[in-house]
């Protein structure tokens, strides 16, 4: 194979160093790919749902992460297989696009692959399977649209939003205080949301964590929290009605970009330079003082002398504040970021009702609260928790909840969770299958089966009899023609997801089905895998 001959009988090489490469072709390649995809899905399967388990991941440097967020697990899993990497990508794109449902999408793709394998064994061509899946996914997405419900909320009545966020949080370790966290997330999103344009810039919500205290101490701060303290230990710890100068230039003598040398060859020059230097520091501080600033926040460091001058003139200052935080402070306080001292004007100062330093625990950890800002469009969620892993996991969970709230503001439609939407789609797809002539019909039916696997996994993880529960719910949905019945994971006693208040966003669900179908199509179309056997 590696060697072919042209019309003159001369050999030429098609594949270089073939003996060092492994090659899988045709049905073998497809089977191998499917197996790899399934293996990844199997890992995540047990993390699905409110009773899903966590994974413990040990990173290359020995750091430990405990999570049940699909995207995080896959990201840190150190995957080598190409198809497995595709699955990782899949979950990541769901994370970017929607932010939630990253586990579900992989489980869905795994189920689709499993069904595809069965169809392959029947001798159906992979492309036909792919096409069948495509049709089926369209049916499913349309059906989701049909069964979705819109609900109304506004700034004062955000209960439905909280309920949806709670559904997301209930599968995480933080479900102990999901109610309060969901409220925090919703309030944060509403604070920064542009309800007119139906858009939310999540960059305006800063999520900050500090080890210690309880999860219950997590709070929403209408302002900014900076993990820094005052540059001089004797500066005041609390400033009311602060006028903040936000600087990106250091309190140091200027450093021109062009290379230069100042030569000192006489005593007079030495003297002048010395005077110049002193004057320079003096001017810098004076400028800040002149425009009426009562607090200086600077991206860079201060010289010792400048620091003392600031202290001396009673001008508290914070140094080494990161660029992102600086921007947030500027947004929140309505100030402008000033790159040069000459450009400082009173209008460019930010305003905040209260700036205070707060210390935590027995170690000297201090943080700076900037509150009651002129423009409350930037908020901070401050997470406390028993240990570092808890904080990290809470951050991820809050991120998911924020994304869900944002999606709801963009699009008010919801579907019912607990597998109810999947079961409804499965029924619809199954019914639609009969209408398609041709081989695709089988693929469409397989799609319906695959949809069932999500509620099945839910039931399995909750310790219920999977097949029994699923068939009961399915027949209930069909009989009463109501798409709200799902798996009763929490053992509440009812299958009606409306009563249990388990909602998911419509776009999240649609995206899951579309993304999973796309990836599966891509995997099915591969019929030749050439890889270096070792390197």
């Amino acid at each position: 194979m590696a060697l072919a001959f042209d019309e003159y009988g001369r050999p030429f090489i098609i594949l270089r160093e073939q003996d060092q490469k492994t090659r899988l072709r045709g049905i073998d390649a497809q089977k191998a790919n499917i197996a790899a995809g399934k293996a990844v899905a199997r890992i995540l399967r047990s993390s699905l749902g409110p009773k899903g388990m966590d994974k413990m991941l040990q990173g290359p440097d020995g750091d430990v992460t405990i999570t049940n967020d699909g995207a995080t697990i896959l990201e840190q899993m150190d995957v080598d297989n190409q198809i497995a990497k595709l699955m990782v990508e899949l979950s990541r794109s769901q994370d970017y696009e929607i932010g939630d449902g990253t586990t579900g999408v992989v489980v869905m793709a795994g189920a689709l692959l499993e069904q595809a394998e069965r169809q392959l064994d029947r001798g159906i061509h992979p492309i036909r399977i792919a096409e069948g899946y495509e049709m089926a996914s369209r049916v499913a997405v349309e059906h989701l649209e049909r069964i979705s419900q819109k609900f109304e909320f506004d700034v004062n009545n955000y209960e439905p939003l909280v309920q949806t966020c709670m559904t997301t949080l209930s599968s995480k370790i933080v479900n102990r205080c999901k109610r309060s966290l969901a409220e925090i997330a919703v309030k944060a999103v509403l604070a920064v949301a542009d309800l007119e344009r139906r858009d939310v810039n999540l960059d305006l919500i800063k999520v900050e964590g500090k080890v210690g205290g309880n999860l219950e101490d997590t709070e929403l701060i209408y302002g900014i929290l900076v993990d820094k303290d005052m540059s001089h230990p004797q500066m005041p710890k609390q400033i009311e009605d602060a006028h903040i100068a936000i600087l990106t230039c250091p309190f140091e003598p200027p450093k021109p970009k062009t290379k230069h040398k100042v030569d000192i060859d006489t005593v007079e020059k030495f003297e002048t330079l010395r005077k110049q230097e002193q004057q320079y520091f003096d001017e810098m501080v004076q400028k800040c003082k002149d425009v009426g600033a009562t607090l200086v926040i600077c991206q860079w460091g201060f010289d010792d002398e400048a620091n003392h001058l600031l202290m001396h003139r009673n001008l508290p200052a914070v140094r080494w504040v990161g660029g992102v935080e600086l921007e947030l402070i500027a947004i929140a306080t309505g100030g402008r970021i000033v790159p040069r001292f000459q450009e400082l004007t009173p209008e460019k100062l930010g305003k905040a009702g209260m700036v205070r330093e707060k210390s935590f625990g027995t170690t000297k950890e201090r943080m700076l609260y900037i509150e009651h800002c002129a423009n409350s469009k930037a908020v901070t969620i401050f997470i406390r928790g028993g240990n570092k892993m808890m904080i990290e996991e809470t951050k991820r969970s809050i991120h998911d909840a924020l994304c869900v709230a944002r999606n709801l503001i963009r699009n008010k439609s919801i579907v019912y969770g607990g597998g109810a939407a999947e079961i409804a789609c499965s029924l619809a797809v199954d019914a639609a299958a009969d209408k398609y002539p041709g081989v695709e019909q089988y693929a469409i039916r397989a799609f319906a089966e695959a949809l069932d696997s999500v509620p099945m996994a839910l039931a399995e993880n909750s310790g219920l009899q999977p097949i029994e529960t699923l068939s009961a719910v399915k027949s209930q949905q069909l009989k009463e023609n109501i798409p709200f019945y799902g798996i009763d994971c929490n053992d509440v006693g009812t299958n009606d997801m409306r009563e249990q208040n388990v909602f998911e966003t419509l776009i999240g669900k649609q995206q899951q089905i579309l993304l999973a179908t796309q990836v599966v199509k891509m995997i099915l179309k591969i019929d030749d895998v050439i890889s270096n056997s070792e390197y």
């Binding site: 293996a39 413990m56 030569d263 330079l273």
Partner: protein, 527 residues
């Protein structure tokens, strides 16, 4: 069709039962390791570092032991982490939290083998933890109003904390010191203001609390050794050659005479600076950075005490106690706040000379001088004292206290047991297990003291059946006794943190059903 592998070469994956086993065993191993240090009769551990010098630490502080362990098991790392957090947050109870989490996992393991789903166990544990906390809340005592009583509470807490440490011989002496020091802070938790100076020699009993401030530095030669009514300027400035800070400046000369001239100018500049400093009308100058010979001489001429190279914390503390501000420029002598103290003198502790500032303006800070036979003893004494100070400063803010000696655990266990009886469903097994884990703490205390734990705990349980009983294990007499009479108290905040973080950690480890270990990052061989 078997898939070859989806992970990288060295990465591995453990699933289901095996993963759970691995994490349980790891966590329990860590808990067992520190278990023997629990309680007043707990034993110490020797830790030898693998670094250069193989330095040795002898300690019975849980956090210190765990910090120095090299652990590969991820679940064990979770436990190390909670003990570290406990140390940061409340300072004490670092061993208890690990032991309790270990016991919770040990009980959970039994439940898992009898086919109870981990989620059910978690649900049960949560209910139990909530109930246990309520039980404690019902029994807390708060003496904030009564200053006299509050102080005696603090004394008792300090003694309870110290009795498990190396300081137990002189616990009253040290408890007194710790309580005095914390009272000086007036409610702030800033322990930086309490300076601990360790000087080998003498015995632990010779340690003392000093009202003033002690700086571990020597007074420059030819400068006064004793100053009364000192005016102190605390500074952070370069007193060697004051460099020109304008970027790119350099000296370029063409003859030797010019070099001499510039050197002269430099000297002049230094002299100027010294004169400016002297213009503040001070008689003591403390700098964070080095003071070179030339300025030192100038200071000596002016009869000013100059102290160089006081480290950053020393400077900050000195600023705090004397009420002066830390200065870096000296152009406006009239507006710089100077620090004041009544007397500066050189004192001797052991063989070392130290500088002692007494009669300081602000009474917040103080120094504790620890004396002891060796460095190991001193290090351990410092850690113990630190624990006591942490607990006390936290208690000043949250003045609720509990009895000690296994009393809180028994109170919680009783309530939790009752809850288990009322709860229907599989959860009740988990709740019962929680109460067993709680009882494990008094059991361990008794075991470590070489007492008959089974007998004592049973007796204790019977005692606790009566309402409002104060019984706990009295390790000294080896019997069940009234904790209130014996004066064994603990801070509520510590107990609550132990309970909540141990439950949280156990929950976290229980939820795991798969461990994926990445390939260790390859390091270049630096040979």
């Amino acid at each position: 069709m078997p898939i070859d592998k989806i992970f990288k070469d060295d990465a591995n994956e453990e699933k289901g039962e095996r993963a759970r086993m691995a994490s349980f065993i790891g966590a329990m191993a860590v808990a067992d390791l520190v278990k023997s240090t629990l309680g007043p009769k707990g034993m110490d551990k020797i830790l030898q570092s693998t670094g250069r010098g193989h330095s040795v630490t002898v300690t019975n502080d849980g956090a210190t032991i765990l910090k120095s362990l090299h652990i590969d098991n991820p679940a064990a790392k979770v436990l190390v982490d909670i003990s570290k957090v406990q140390d940061d947050e409340v300072g004490d109870g670092t061993t208890s939290v690990v032991v309790l989490a270990g016991e919770l996992l040990r009980e959970a393991e039994k439940l898992v083998t009898s086919k109870i789903h981990p989620m059910t166990i978690i649900a049960g544990y949560r209910m139990a933890a909530e109930c246990a906390r309520d039980a404690l809340l019902k029994r807390v005592m708060d003496n904030k109003e009564d200053a006299e009583k509050f102080r005696s509470d603090l004394m008792k807490i300090a003694m309870t904390t110290l009795c498990s440490k190396i300081l137990s011989q002189d616990k009253e002496h040290f408890a007194e010191m710790a309580v005095d020091a914390v009272f000086r802070l007036k409610g702030s938790t800033n322990l930086e203001a309490i300076q601990i100076i360790k000087k080998p020699g003498g015995s632990l009993r010779d340690s003392f609390l000093d009202e003033g401030f002690i700086l571990d530095k020597k007074i420059g030669i030819g400068q006064p050794k004793r100053i009364e009514n000192a005016k102190i300027l605390v500074a952070n400035t370069a007193m060697d050659t004051d460099k020109v800070k304008i970027y790119g400046a350099r000296v370029r000369v063409d003859s030797m005479t010019k070099v001499a001239e510039i050197e002269g100018a430099e000297k002049e500049k230094m002299k100027d600076k010294v004169n400016k400093i002297l213009a503040h009308g001070i008689n003591c100058f403390v700098n964070r950075q080095l003071i070179y010979n030339f300025p030192e001489e100038l200071f000596a001429d002016a009869g000013v005490l100059a102290i160089e190279h006081a480290d950053f914390e020393g400077i900050e503390r000195l600023g705090l106690v004397t009420g002066g501000e830390i200065a870096s420029t000296f152009d406006n002598p009239e507006s710089v706040k100077l620090g004041h103290c009544k007397l500066i003198e050189e004192i001797m502790i052991g063989e070392d000379k130290l500088i002692h500032f007494s009669g300081v303006a602000m009474g917040q800070a103080c120094s504790i001088v620890l004396r002891g036979a060796s460095h190991h003893v001193l290090d351990e004494a410092e850690r113990s004292l630190h624990d006591a100070l942490c607990v006390l400063s936290q208690t000043v803010n949250d003045s609720r206290v509990l009895l000690g000696g296994g009393w809180p655990e028994m109170v919680m266990a009783k309530e939790v047991d009752e809850l288990a009886r009322k709860t229907a469903g599989k959860k009740s097994h988990a709740i019962e297990a929680f109460s067993r884990a709680l009882v494990a703490i008094p059991t361990t205390i008794a075991d470590n003291a070489g007492l008959d734990s089974a007998e004592l705990v049973a007796q204790l349980r019977a005692e606790h059946h009566n309402q409002g009983c104060n019984a706990g294990i009295d390790v000294i007499s080896g019997a069940v006794g009234d904790m209130e009479e014996r004066g064994i108290y603990e801070a509520f905040k510590v107990k609550q943190a132990v309970l909540l973080s141990a439950t949280e950690a156990a929950e976290m480890i229980l939820r795991v059903d798969e461990i994926i270990t990445c390939a260790p990052r390859r390091r270049e061989d630096r040979m």
